[in-house]
Each structure stands twice: as structure tokens, then as C-alpha cells.
């Protein structure tokens, strides 16, 4: 993939994350943070299909944005291509695991 395309994906995912993080934080803060993170409220919110879908999309966009950010930082660090490839491979496996865990959290 071209570098310019990767940068466009970084910016696009960044804007997506920004918009949905604002929604996520508003949902958490309205009515009090302590109440909104209590067990029953969290379970009820996870049962809401629309909100859960948004959370999964937010997680996916965040991991894409983070992954591309990590790649950019590694590229700028001057490391060898082989080392960068290995680290990106490890990060990808961790991120896939985190994404799977996020889906498992939502579907219960």
C-alpha cells in the first residue's frame, strides 16, 4: 500500500475515533461517572446492540490508528526493515487478540 494511502487511513481513523470517543465520554459522564460504570449499567449498555456495535467500531478504528502510529514511529526510528517487520507482526497479533476480546465482551 502506498505511504500516502496509509497516511489517509491514519487521518480518517483518527477523525472517526475522535467523534466516537466524544460520544463514548458523553455517555459515560452524563448522570455521573460512578453510576455509569456500575455493574448493572455497564451490562445494560452492552446489551444495547447499536451502542455495542459503535463500541466495536470504535475499538477497530482505534487499533488501526494505533497500529499505523506504531508503524510510523518505528519507521522514523531508523530501525532495520526486518526488525520493524517483526515488531509490527507482534503488535498485529496483540491487537487482533484485543479486538477479539472486545467482541467477546460485547456479545458476552
Amino acid at each position: 500500500m502506498r505511504e500516502s494511502t496509509l497516511r489517509l487511513i491514519t487521518y480518517g481513523s483518527g477523525i472517526f475515533v475522535l467523534v466516537f470517543v466524544i460520544i463514548h465520554l458523553i455517555v459515560l459522564s452524563v448522570g455521573g461517572l460512578a453510576i455509569n460504570v456500575s455493574y448493572n449499567v455497564v451490562i445494560n449498555e452492552l446489551r444495547n446492540t447499536a451502542y455495542s456495535t459503535v463500541l466495536v467500531m470504535l475499538l477497530l478504528a482505534t487499533l488501526i490508528h494505533s497500529g499505523l502510529g506504531v508503524r510510523r514511529a518505528l519507521t522514523d526510528s531508523g530501525m532495520s526493515k526486518r526488525s520493524i517487520g517483526i515488531i509490527i507482526g507482534i503488535v498485529t497479533v496483540i491487537f487482533l487478540g484485543i479486538f477479539a476480546l472486545g467482541i467477546l465482551t460485547v456479545i458476552g
Partner: protein, 135 residues
């Protein structure tokens, strides 16, 4: 050029400082999102485990950590918008013949105003986040 170059004190300017903080906050937020997903997944293990985790979350240490993450998020978001505005040309000066004393986009009025606004919005949002977290 290497990682050491990002944090080299000699020759620092506003752009280098903001870039270094953008990298640091990016790494911090990446670590947070991994921990956050693992943390929230514990809700599926029942109310007792969730409540025991919430005691960490509601402690002073937990709240300070959360505020730190919010500050990193606010900075990363506002500075990210700045980077996009620079790369799309909105914060750059119009091309013209250079005359002494030379000015660059970094010291241009438009960029200075954005950085000032960025600082002000960042402080306001951090105070609001602090009120929400500690109330």
C-alpha cells in the same frame, strides 16, 4: 537519525516539542486501550470481580491515572487536528518571495493563534474532565 533525535534538547522548537509529546501520548494511549479492553472484559466475570476492579478505579491513584489519560487524549486529539490542518495547507503561509527577517509557517500568525487556541481548549477540557472524574 534515530529515537534519540526526537528528544534531543539542542535545536528544539515548538514543532519538535509538540511532535515529541504526540509520540509519547500516542504510546501511552495505545497501552491504555489494551489495558482498558482487558479491564472492561472482566465485567463478564460477574459483579464481585467488577466491583473489586472498580475500587482500584475509584481510588485517588485510579482517578489521577484516568485524568492523566484524559490529558493525553485531549492533547493527542487537538495536536492531531493541527497536523492535519498543516498537511492540508490550512495552517501554512501563502508562498511569497522571502525577505529578511525570514518567517516560516511555524512562526506565522495563523499557526501561533491555533497553538494558543489549542492550549486554551486543552486546559478547559482538562478542567472539565477533572470535574467529571473527581466529582
Amino acid at each position: 537519525m534515530g529515537v534519540r533525535e526526537w528528544f534531543r534538547l539542542k535545536g528544539w522548537n515548538k514543532e519538535r516539542t509538540l511532535m515529541a509529546f504526540h509520540r509519547i501520548t500516542g504510546w501511552a494511549l495505545t497501552l491504555f486501550i489494551v489495558g482498558h479492553v482487558v479491564f472492561v472484559h472482566e465485567v463478564r466475570d460477574g459483579i464481585s470481580i467488577w466491583n473489586s476492579l472498580l475500587t482500584v478505579d475509584s481510588s485517588v491513584f485510579g482517578k489521577v491515572l484516568l485524568l492523566g489519560i484524559m490529558m493525553a487524549l485531549i492533547f493527542h486529539a487537538i495536536n492531531g487536528i493541527r497536523i492535519m490542518l498543516i498537511e492540508s495547507g490550512h495552517l501554512l503561509t501563502k508562498p511569497k518571495e522571502q525577505e529578511y527577517p525570514y518567517t516560516t509557517w511555524l512562526t506565522s500568525r495563523r499557526h501561533q493563534i491555533y497553538v494558543m487556541a489549542m492550549g486554551t481548549i486543552g486546559i478547559v477540557l482538562t478542567v472539565y474532565a477533572g470535574v467529571v472524574i473527581f466529582s
